[in-house]
Symmetry: C2
């Protein structure tokens, strides 16, 4: 890596929602930026925790039994195996970390995994 | 995790430099906030990449053959095995991710590893 990754510059390069873009690699994990708006289906990741850091905007992380608000400068880890659903009334910009190859949709049958591309 | 981790609230809880504080765990990694000011010794981590995201302020990451500037909203991964030295003229606030148990000082003989505590 010969220069730092500017997250706002990366976020300015795309507009679609729920489509994580890879900006760096860390120990076999994809470090990604993503824009959420609306509701994602409930899903879980059997083998991995899910890392979310909200960069701009607000979202909620819904579990089956509770809802957690996550605002700018706040991070949230969903433990492996726990069903969850990110929801954003307005667009939210998020830093996401998942092991390389992990489908963003986990075990969901409602939604196909996004193709994670580098930007 | 029953609420999100607010990084500014965590950073307000300590003032010492070069002393990472654990705020979350992700797949066996410690997710930490840290304040840097001054120069850290050159070191490397043989088995792990090093993840830095600058939250506030500016720093440089010095390699033996180049220096890279990292500002707010910018992230930087130091690949495993590469000698590096973070330097900050003024205080900088950083999100740091390292595998649990990894000494922040890597293989340095000039500096003892920090004791990483939860806050």
């Amino acid at each position: 890596m010969v220069k730092a990754v500017n997250l706002n510059e990366k976020l300015a390069q795309f507009s679609e929602h729920w489509s994580p873009k890879i900006v760096a690699e860390y120990n076999g994990n994809d470090v990604m930026v993503v824009k959420f708006k609306g509701e994602f289906p409930f899903h879980s990741h059997a083998e991995t925790d899910d890392f979310f850091l909200v960069l701009e905007g607000k979202m909620t992380m819904e579990y089956r039994d509770r809802t957690i608000s996550v605002g700018p400068g706040e991070l949230f880890i969903v433990p492996k195996g726990i069903e969850h659903r990110p929801v954003a009334e307005e667009e939210v910009k998020v830093l996401l970390i998942e092991p390389k190859g992990e489908p963003n949709s986990g075990d969901s049958t409602e939604r196909a995994p996004a193709v994670k591309e580098w930007i």
